[in-house]
């Protein structure tokens, strides 16, 4: 059976291979654990899993897991004290942002739109209620000092937690 020939990896990709976040945060046990969690956030992890996945020593994995648990990135289940299980904290915004960051790195490298796609999907599926326009209105801006009407602006009213603020000197 003939050996299948594979094409050479493009030179510009070589510097990124097997580096979590393309090397942005260096390469250590903690960032390797983070990328494993970001890549698969829907599973439970045991310290031994990380030993197999990233090939780091047990003490360095324990230290990184403790740190990531303290930071709220992981949730530790100590039902079995001898064999703790770690679960990615799906409520952590850090997990969300690190996922988006992984797409941003591809976009910067390849000129793609992966981050935009993910943000649009996130807004569409989970933030729709907060970004949906409930009403539209217009307001007039008036400069107090010069007593000049500075224009009419349209305002979209949505259910967000931010307040509309007038800039100083305008009413």
């Amino acid at each position: 059976m003939p050996v299948r020939e594979y094409p050479e990896l493009p030179k510009e990709l070589e510097m990124y291979v097997d580096k979590p976040y393309g090397g942005l945060f260096g390469d250590n046990t903690q960032i390797r654990i983070i990328i494993e969690i970001v890549a698969d956030p829907y599973r439970y992890y045991r310290p031994k899993d990380f030993e197999e996945l990233i090939g780091a020593s047990a003490p360095s994995i324990r230290a990184a897991l403790k740190n990531l648990t303290d930071l709220g990135f992981l949730i530790k289940d100590e039902t079995d004290m001898q064999h703790p299980i770690y679960q990615p904290n799906l409520d952590s915004k850090k997990l969300l942002v690190l996922t988006l960051l992984s797409y941003a790195l591809i976009d910067d490298r390849d000129g793609t739109q992966c981050l935009d796609d993910a943000i649009l999907d996130h807004c569409d599926k989970r933030l729709k209620d907060r970004t949906q326009t409930l009403a539209s209105a217009t307001y007039k801006s008036y400069d107090i000092e010069s007593k000049v009407d500075t224009g009419t602006y349209s305002v979209k009213i949505a259910q967000t937690n931010s307040y509309f603020k007038y800039s100083e000197g305008k009413a």
Partner: protein
């Protein structure tokens, strides 16, 4: 020219017949792998990729043979093989379809 019903036949005649078929939807497990690969920068060594796919219950190399090499392909560099996700918009499309773009509670946690 008007037909029996008085309609202008030439206006409603189909000038070109084209059957447009959408490409087959990749299965959930494969899309999960695409998401896993993309979050790692879309390029990762074949050994780990194969291990990941084995743990998910499918053979990566068999699966790759069925896919276009303009979507995902194996490359070689310094004697090491790498899987490269080439068509990111294609992967994005299916990740969005399976709700795998960003982490959330909607997905089922895999067994303890």
């Amino acid at each position: 020219m008007p037909d029996n019903h008085g309609h202008q036949k030439d206006r409603c005649e189909v000038t070109e017949k084209r059957i447009i078929t959408s490409p087959p939807k990749p299965p959930y497990k494969l899309t999960e792998f695409l998401a896993w690969l993309k979050k790692r920068g879309a390029t990762w060594n074949l050994t780990q990729c194969k291990r990941k796919c084995e743990s998910e219950g499918f053979d990566l190399e068999d699966t790759l043979k069925k896919l276009d090499t303009d979507k995902i392909a194996i490359y070689i560099s310094k004697g090491q093989k790498y899987v490269v996700l080439k068509n990111k918009p294609w992967a994005d499309q299916w990740m969005i379809s399976y709700n795998l773009e960003v982490p959330h509670h909607g997905q089922k946690q895999k067994g303890k």
